[in-house]
């Protein structure tokens, strides 16, 4: 039971809004120490347990370097931003008269989900698509319709751009038979003596994918409605609301 203290540290850390890196490290050490603790444990035992936990954390950290490798993307993205990529994205979308925030994000969401469903999960992502292209396009679509945007709406639109990417990816990728989660399920069942084919698994990801498509399409339609209502009554393009959003 004591090893669950680590989860408690994580939850508490987020509640008091401590630095998440600090929370993660504290949770790891707590877990390792709690696993080693007994009423008879002396300082020496606990010191060894702490050192071993740090070492196993370090091993995992080193094995997981590939996660942080993707940041080199930002060198290329930054270079294009320098040449006006975000501005170009806004101009391009402002020329499409029927574009709205919701419709634009819906098109991206559907493409993202469909591409992930055929295994093309690397088409998209927050660093390579959302920040340089999708978010500026969505903001541009809103600006073309409503004029300058208050900050609250700007941040709302950006958040929805990231959400469209995540939801499209999550509920598309499992339809592809060679994705990590499908292989994990197959491997797990196999070690428990149940043989399933990847195709059997991926077929049963389709009903949820359809549900996600329906639900999130409604959400994006509601987003458009919300923006339209917020700007209704202002006949001329609105002026920028200078007051920044108070952090909730």
């Amino acid at each position: 039971m004591l090893v669950l203290l680590g989860i408690g540290v994580v939850v508490l850390g987020f509640v008091v809004r401590a630095n998440p890196l600090l929370v993660v490290m504290a949770a790891a050490l707590t877990t390792g120490l709690a696993a080693a603790w007994s009423p008879e444990a002396d300082l020496q035992t606990m010191y060894v347990a702490g050192r071993d936990t740090l070492a196993s954390f370090g091993k995992a950290f080193n094995d997981a370097r590939y996660i942080s490798l993707v940041w080199i993307l930002l060198a290329a993205i930054g270079l294009l931003e320098r040449a006006g990529l975000q501005e170009r994205a806004r101009i391009a979308i402002a020329n499409v008269k029927t574009a709205t925030v919701g419709r634009l994000l819906w098109v991206y969401f559907v493409i993202r989900q469909a591409a992930a469903a055929v295994g093309l999960t690397s088409l998209g992502g927050h660093a390579q698509m959302v920040r340089p292209l999708v978010a500026p396009m969505a903001e541009g679509a809103a600006e073309a319709k409503f004029g300058a945007l208050p900050d609250t709406q700007r941040y709302l639109i950006r958040s929805h751009a990231a959400a469209a990417d995540n939801i499209g990816l999550f509920f598309g990728e499992d339809i592809f038979i060679a994705i990590a989660s499908i292989l994990l399920i197959k491997g797990f069942l196999e070690t428990n003596g149940i043989l399933v084919e990847p195709l059997e698994l991926s077929i049963w990801a389709i009903p949820t994918a359809i549900a996600a498509l329906v639900i999130h399409s409604v959400r994006l339609w509601l987003l458009d409605r919300r923006l339209r209502i917020a700007h209704a009554g202002k006949s001329s393009p609105a002026r920028a609301d200078a007051s920044p959003e108070a952090a909730p």
Binding site: V10, V15, N19, K59, R65, W71, R82, E87, Y155, I185
Partner: protein, 319 residues
């Protein structure tokens, strides 16, 4: 053959460059902290294999300590808003092309390794997409440098501009993955699963299905990763009760159960890659809040979708 180690050398070079350029940036009052932070990360990429497990643990501890004191925001030289607008007008939609080089090469490399005889001899098969992505980035930078002729240091300075806006959150996903490994070694998951099975009556289909799906989502919220929750909840609830006692079909139960976990991923700051990193990249003011803008945009989709998963599993899993 190009292996992950080669990609790590490129990554180490990028982070080392950030460290040096940060150290030289007098506009940043905390420039030495930034330099130390990115320098340690460069050390990890270049020498992580040589400094041993405890050495890597101390390195991670050092990164955490610097981040806890706080990083600064550098001011790398870049173009002004007017220059960018003028460049966007002048160059037109051609600007989109280099941005598409990266996913195109990532995809092409992956397909080549999968479907040709010679592909696996050129690129390490196990990490094909990641290595292809790195190649794509290098090619894209090369194309942009030749086409637009920015200053030679521009890719590194622009990279630093964006990395400083991401800040310490850059290593949060890697840290969380390491925490998951420690949790696994200590048996945290088994404890949670055992508690779940003990306190909830799992003898009817509806209750068992709802408990499994909600448990997947909740445990994913805590762990930040449905992959960590899946073996635990499936071993504790799905295998013995839904499949064993109540006759559920394993493929259908597991496929939908995993997706119920993904609903949890949408709601948690522990899924840093998906929910915290974009909040930083998009410069949201509430990026450090537990429920930042991205998560708040996702929760109203996640909850009805979790309910849909419960209904779908109840209807489909007992043929």
């Amino acid at each position: 053959m190009i292996t992950l180690e080669h990609a790590y050398i490129v990554g180490g070079f990028f982070f080392a460059a950030l460290a040096v350029l940060s150290a030289l940036d007098r506009a940043n009052g905390r420039r030495l902290r930034n330099a130390l932070f990115w320098g340690l990360l460069a050390l990890s990429f270049w020498g992580g294999g040589a400094i041993g497990d405890l050495g890597n643990g101390l390195l991670a501890l050092g990164l955490v300590a610097i981040a806890a004191f706080g990083l600064g925001q550098g001011k790398p030289p870049t173009t002004s808003a007017e220059e960018r607008r003028a460049s966007a007008e002048r160059r037109g939609n051609l600007l989109f092309l280099p941005a598409l080089i990266i996913p195109a090469i990532a995809l092409a490399g992956t397909l080549v390794v999968q479907h040709t005889e010679w592909g696996p001899a050129v690129i390490q098969e196990q990490h094909k997409t990641l290595i292809s992505l790195v190649i794509g980035v290098l090619v894209a930078i090369g194309v942009i440098m030749i086409w637009l002729r920015p200053p030679l240091l521009a890719p590194l300075q622009e990279g630093r501009r964006l990395m400083d806006s991401v800040g310490w959150a850059a290593i949060l996903p890697q840290m969380l993955a390491s925490l998951g490994a420690v949790f696994l070694a200590a048996g945290v998951g088994d404890q949670v699963g055992a508690m779940f099975a003990e306190y909830i009556p799992l003898d009817t289909r509806t209750v068992a299905v709802a408990a499994y799906c909600i448990g997947m989502a909740l445990f994913t919220i805590v762990m930040g990763n449905a992959f960590a929750a899946f073996p635990v909840m499936t071993a504790a609830v799905a295998l013995p009760f839904i499949i064993g006692q109540l006759g559920g079909d394993p493929a259908r139960v597991c496929a939908i159960g995993m997706l119920a976990g993904f609903c949890g991923t949408l709601c948690t700051p522990m899924a840093a890659n998906f929910n915290v990193v974009p909040a930083n990249l998009l410069e949201l003011p509430d990026r450090n809040a537990a429920l930042n803008g991205v998560i708040r945009a996702q929760i109203p989709t996640a909850i009805p979708l979790l309910i849909a998963n419960i209904v779908l599993m109840r209807l489909l899993a007992f043929p």
